[in-house]
């Protein structure tokens, strides 16, 4: 039996600390869905820092460090997912990194399809160490795109025997991150976060479930409380 940590909005550092807590101390497949309140900017694990993001740093949004790689993300009108699962889970057994992305992306693609948005994997391209600052301006073959624009940007962190994949599903564009696709534009209506989160949870329940609605364990909560300050950028 897996676990669903149902959609809720939290402050940026807490969001990142909880993902790490679930990865390092979780014991069952866990889907977590969350939003950002206040909005924030996350930097990839090895991005140099505030100076690397130029004018974004002047936006007045809280800055946090992700434990995953890639470029900066402005987390504003989005639903963020994180899926944590053992690497020897039957659904990932024998998968290389690229295949594991496809397996975890599959329920997201199904949920978006149910909303009326067909995504494709970008399939080619890619930026390495010197790619653009923003995640949504970077291209990798694993991106989920609509008409060439990234709608879902994802990244993985792997620790002994477990993998966490988290990513942003963009609801609407914001001026700090103008190059994305967005569900509001694609569907010509305001798409509530709850609606997307519900659909994603249902599709993950079929793919990785059953998932029982749950909460953090005391160990996970304690770890997240300890780690949250370390995710904040001063």
């Amino acid at each position: 039996m897996g676990r669903l940590l149902a959609y809720a909005r939290h402050e940026p550092a807490w969001n990142m600390a909880v993902d790490e807590a679930v990865l390092r101390h979780g014991t069952v497949p866990t889907l977590r869905l969350y939003g950002w309140s206040p909005p924030g900017i996350s930097l990839g694990r090895f991005q140099p820092g505030r100076m690397d993001i130029g004018a974004l740093a002047d936006a007045g949004l809280p800055l946090v460090r992700r434990m995953t790689g890639g470029g900066a993300i402005v987390h504003w009108h989005e639903v963020t997912y994180s899926m944590t699962v053992a690497l020897d889970d039957p659904r990932l057994d024998g998968c290389d990194t690229e295949e594991s992305y496809a397996v975890i992306h599959a329920p997201i693609r199904e949920a978006l399809q149910a909303l009326g948005v067909a995504t494709t994997g970008r399939g080619d391209g890619g930026h390495g160490r010197d790619g653009p600052v923003l995640c949504f301006d970077r291209a990798t073959p694993l991106d989920l795109v609509v008409a060439g624009r990234k709608l879902v940007g994802s990244a993985q962190r792997r620790v002994a025997g477990r993998v966490l994949q988290h990513g942003s599903i963009v609801l609407s564009t914001n001026p700090l991150q103008p190059g994305t696709a967005a569900l509001d534009d694609l569907l010509s209506r305001t798409v509530p976060a709850d609606e997307v989160a519900r659909g994603v949870a249902e599709c993950f329940d079929l793919a990785f479930g059953p998932l029982a609605k749950g909460d953090l364990t005391p160990v996970e909560r304690s770890f997240a409380e300890k780690m949250a300050p370390s995710y904040r950028f001063s």
Partner: protein, 129 residues
């Protein structure tokens, strides 16, 4: 391809090779094969202590950041800064030029805890079945 003699492994694919009171540490060909398009390597500074089975660094490929685990306990006495700048060395030869750390061992007997080549290969085979 056969792996060179004298190396032992953690289940997480790091290797250790003994050299007197020191050991060399790196990651296996199998690990490198699973890390496409390497981007960044973070290693501890000289003088830092590392502990067997605990994370000592991180490696980033285009789509995943992975922890690196120490196969042996001890103090870092050398770090391969050239590798940090030229990560493609790992693809060419993970056993020699692409070593990551040289460590003064605190507990040489820990080497016996590591997987010999045959056991390591069987573990890989079962992972990739």
């Amino acid at each position: 391809m056969a792996r060179p003699d004298g190396y032992r492994y953690l289940k997480t694919h790091e290797w250790a090779r003994l050299d007197g009171e020191h050991c060399w540490i790196g990651i296996s060909d199998h690990a490198v094969g699973h890390l496409s398009d390497l981007v960044f390597l973070d290693l501890p500074e000289c003088g830092q202590d590392i502990m067997q089975n605990e994370p000592f660094g991180e490696i980033e490929s285009v789509k995943a950041v992975s922890d690196l685990y120490a196969p042996m306990t001890g103090e870092v006495v050398e770090r391969n800064d050239r590798l940090i700048e030229e990560l493609d060395m790992l693809k060419r030869d993970p056993w020699n030029d692409a070593w990551m750390l040289k460590v003064r061992m605190e507990k040489p007997s820990e080497f016996e805890n590591l997987l010999e080549d045959g056991s390591y290969q069987r573990m890989i085979d079962s992972e990739d079945h």
